[in-house]
Amino acid sequence: MSFLLPCPNCGPRPVDEFSCTGEVTIRPKGSPTFRELTDYLYFRRNVAGIQREWWCHRLGCEAWFTAERDTRTNEVLSVEVPAER
């Protein structure tokens, strides 16, 4: 893996400067059932295609952002910083 990832602050940088926590998941609200909990914790869609995921520019500006990446080609289609409140 050696693709370039466009950091919203720093522009395209080598992917080894970033850390990735994988696809964006939705944390259940209230009291989830055991199944809802394990789905949230352990199940991922793991698509061969476009996936939204969390990235952090660890060795750069340290910002977290989401990126839409094609998991087949590593092409990054868009990046987004979660909106300020």
Partner: protein, 865 residues
């Protein structure tokens, strides 16, 4: 014997260079490679082959084939034909038992055929199993090429350099230069990478860098081998002008010493003014190979016969040798005496780098070559690499008479014959990818440059299909052989030192790594250092703790959500111990959280966890968007912990603050000047005695450290290291994250249920902890002391009914208690005071008793005093 200077000769004849080959001194000129100098001295056999130990001589002379690999100054597998000679270098043959001329293992060539067919290692030397150690010893001694000398270690530094290029051209041949000029003329910044040191002249608007491109990776990353320097080029646009590779022909005896590819002749004569031999036969499929005829004649080699495969069909070619050296060639049964045979099966585009980049490879039937197609964006192919290799005859897969008239090698690196390939096909390995792995064709040092296409032709013919149907195997980096050291070359490995580091060194501390930090393990006597904390006063540098400021209107809410603890009710100036969990309920890190004011919190983390905790905090807040700022002040602040019965007396000497037990109680946090330095004082007790953790700006590290030691000589102050701290904390049963916990541990089973306020609405990990309560405990972290006083190994097994039932995570001898103490994960039914544990220690078993309360000062009276 050198010829008079030839046109284009690369020798500086006025500069003689001498080196040793085994016991003899070899003389050459500047400009010679090891192979050319040795060839000039009459050396013809350069190596013994991988499996059959057949004599091998110069074949390609351009660093492609394995035939001239020698050991140079202890480095094995040096390609002698492209390595310049240097004064005094020591060159030795490898893969030889005996000498190059008389190799004892050459016996495998005579008798080995029936015993060592393709894939023999999957079938033979398996039974009887008892004999395996014998087999193994023999196999290990004969396997592989070259040996690393374990006793004569080589120290070689490798470095990595990151570079950028708008356009990177691989290959400075005519096509590469043309492309470089074109891009430069359009105003782009162009860098050309070239392997051959003789082709490095810069062109107009571009520089030429000497090195070998090893692959083309995504994002235009091209690692370039430049000796002991790895250049990591990031290119916006990559032009592959890697040329073509001349292919061998498959006939019996095609590996004999004296059988050469055309480029070998070009270099021997043209570059180094050497006569390749006395009498030559040229069998050519293309124009380039025919051009060697003139060169041979110029060098005084008689050309006995020229076969142009485009005009003349030859059914049968068989080279005949004497002691492994070419003596004659039979053409359709007619014998022609010769000592040089130039063979060429045409040139194949060097498409591998393009395939790395994602290009497809297609077979052009009419031309008999594989050409790259569908180039991805930003990748360009020019010249021979793109398929511009001229017209050539498509050679037969093998010539008649193969096998019967001697071994016909498809792969000279791994000694695979046509017979082996046919046998693999007969055994059902009909897919090229599977056959490759079974026969190991293309898996040797040449990485398929000389064997891939011939083997595809052979598979096609044997399977009665065509080359396009067989297809190619996946091309993978590296495209050229590379020293492992270059790939391992000094990565970015930060080392962190605290601002008090030099004081520790002056005190003779034994240093150790904790994550990226250097910390004192001890100052010589861990037990005495621990004892001094109990008896008088210990001082420890804890600057490595992660330190975060969490501030803002939502700071309390933010921490409430992240930690299972409660913070909302916390008064400013108070401290709480907190454990961070993942949503799966697993322990991630621990530390103290001090509330400095309504909206300001000071959070400490473990020494190795600071980075991960900051990332974790920032990530959750990217989701929650609470009004809170997180600032990592780990490096900005130093921290020193003073602990022991005399700690309070010391503090009265260093600060005006009321440090009485009423004025500054356990778990208080206060700001004050200590030794004149603005300091945050935390009254906490990791080591079990009255203690103050002082956090202050890093630049004052040595000043504060020195002042503490100077002002407390009468108090018995001594520094203590990490090891005594580990003994002390174990006496208190304070857990160490990562030592007593692993990635599966949770706070409930780790016997800290008071941490988790499950009545809170929500916090990270809450639901999973609720589930742990629901499902019941599977194991529990407890303390123990052994009856015999033996200290079990950390990681040792707890045996329950003769089976592994738990494990020891920490164990130490405590001088203060006079007991061997530890912590262990045990089945829940054993997590009771005084329960008996059986611990395996070095094969024997020890009895131990479970302890649920701290070994030392269980009620914390001393700590709080």
């Amino acid at each position: 014997m050198r010829l008079p200077p030839q046109p284009g000769e690369r020798l500086a004849r006025e500069h003689a260079v001498a080196f040793t080959f085994h016991d003899t001194t070899v003389r050459g000129f500047e400009g010679d490679t090891i192979a050319s100098a040795l060839f000039g001295e009459g050396q013809r056999v350069f190596s013994r082959s991988f499996k059959y130990h057949r004599p091998r001589g110069l074949l390609c002379c351009q660093g492609t084939c394995p035939n001239c690999m020698l050991t140079v100054d202890g480095t094995p597998n040096v390609r002698a034909c492209i390595t310049p000679i240097a004064e005094g270098m020591r060159v030795e043959a490898q893969n030889v038992r005996g000498s190059l001329d008389h190799d004892l293992l050459a016996i495998t060539d005579k008798i080995g055929g029936p015993f060592t067919p393709v894939g023999f290692y999957y079938r033979t030397m398996i039974r009887p199993r008892r004999a395996w150690p014998l087999y193994e010893r023999f196999l290990r001694s004969v396997a592989g090429l070259g040996k690393v000398d374990k006793h004569r270690g080589r120290v070689q530094r490798y470095d990595v350099e990151h570079r950028r290029a708008e356009v990177l051209v691989i290959g400075a041949g005519s096509a590469g230069r043309e492309a470089a000029r074109r891009h430069a003329a359009e105003g782009r910044e162009v860098v050309v990478v070239e392997t051959d040191p003789g082709r490095l002249d810069a062109g107009e608007g571009f520089e030429v860098v000497n090195g070998t491109a090893l692959g083309v990776f995504e994002g235009g990353l091209v690692p370039v081998d430049a000796g002991t320097l790895l250049l990591r080029y990031r290119a916006g646009h990559v032009v592959v002008a890697a040329g073509a590779v001349e292919q061998p022909l498959l006939f019996p005896g095609n590996d004999l010493v004296g059988v050469m590819l055309p480029e070998a002749i070009r270099r021997l004569v043209g570059r180094w003014s050497l006569r390749p031999g006395e009498r030559a036969v040229v069998i050519a499929a293309d124009e380039g190979a025919l051009e060697t005829v003139a060169l041979l004649e110029r060098a005084g080699t008689r050309v006995a016969e020229v076969v142009d495969l485009r005009e003349r069909r030859v059914r049968e070619i068989a080279a005949k040798g004497k002691s492994g050296r070419l003596a004659a060639v039979e053409l359709n049964g007619r014998k022609v005496t010769c000592d040089v045979l130039v063979m060429s099966g045409g040139r194949q585009p060097a498409y591998a780098l393009l395939a790395h980049a994602g290009a497809k490879v297609e077979y052009a039937h009419d031309r008999g070559i594989f050409v790259p197609v569908d180039l991805p964006e930003g990748i360009e192919a020019v010249g021979a690499a793109a398929g511009d290799v001229g017209d050539a005859a498509v050679p037969a897969a093998t010539f008649n008479g193969a096998s019967e008239k001697g071994k016909c090698f498809v792969c000279i690196c791994e000694d695979v014959t046509d017979k082996d390939v046919k046998r693999a096909i007969a055994e059902g390995f009909d897919s090229i990818e599977l056959a490759k792995r079974y026969t190991t064709v293309t898996m040797g040092p040449c990485q398929g440059k000389l064997c891939h296409v011939p083997s595809i032709r052979l598979y096609a013919r044997e399977n009665e299909t065509d080359e396009a149907t067989i297809g190619t195997t996946t091309a993978r980096p590296p495209w050229q052989p590379v020293e492992l050291g270059l790939l391992a070359g000094r990565p970015h490995e930060p080392a962190q030192r605290t601002s008090i580091h030099h004081r520790h060194k002056e005190l003779g501390a034994k240093m150790m790594w904790t994550g990226t930090w250097r910390r004192p393990h001890s100052y010589g006597d861990p037990a005495a250092e621990a004892k001094n904390v109990h008896d008088a006063l210990g001082v420890i540098d804890v600057s490595t703790l992660g330190k975060l400021l969490v501030t803002g209107p939502d700071a309390a809410e933010f921490l409430e959500r992240l930690y299972p603890n409660r913070f909302g009710d916390m008064k400013p100036g108070r401290i709480r111990y907190g454990v961070l969990n993942s949503d799966a309920g697993r322990i991630m890190d621990d530390g103290t959280i001090a509330r400095l004011s309504e909206e300001d919190f000071y959070v400490t983390t473990t020494s190795t966890g600071a980075g991960a905790v900051v990332e974790w905090f920032e990530w959750w807040n990217a989701i929650w968007r609470l009004d809170v700022e997180i600032v990592d002040v780990t490096g900005a602040l130093a921290a020193v912990n003073v602990a022991g019965p005399n700690a309070r007396e010391l503090m009265t000497r260093l600060t005006d603050l009321d440090v009485s037990s009423e004025g500054f109680t356990y778990l208080d946090a206060k700001h004050a000047h200590v030794a004149g330095v603005p300091t945050l004082l935390l009254r906490i007790g990791f080591v079990g005695e009255v203690g103050y953790e002082l956090h202050f700006p890093s630049p004052y590290g040595e000043h504060v450290w020195d002042t503490i030691l100077e002002r407390s000589t009468d108090l018995g102050a001594e520094p203590f290291g990490l090891e005594p701290q580990r003994i002390l904390r174990l006496e208190k049963m304070h857990i160490l994250i990562g030592q007593d916990t692993d990635s599966e541990s949770n706070v409930l089973e780790a016997s800290m249920p008071w941490i988790a306020k499950l009545d809170k609405d929500d916090f990270v990990g809450k639901w999973s902890l609720e589930h742990v309560l629901e499902r019941g405990f599977r194991e529990q972290l407890v303390g123990f002391e052994t009856e015999s006083g033996v200290v079990p190994l950390e990681g040792g097994q707890i045996v329950v009914d003769g089976r592994p039932g738990g494990r020891v995570t920490s164990a130490r001898w405590s001088d203060h208690l006079g007991r061997a103490i530890g912590m262990a994960w045990v089945p829940p039914d054993l997590a009771e005071e005084d329960a008996e544990l059986t611990i395996k220690v070095n094969g024997s078993v020890e009895k131990a008793r479970v302890r649920l309360r701290p070994f030392f000062d269980p009620d914390g009276e001393r700590l709080r005093s």
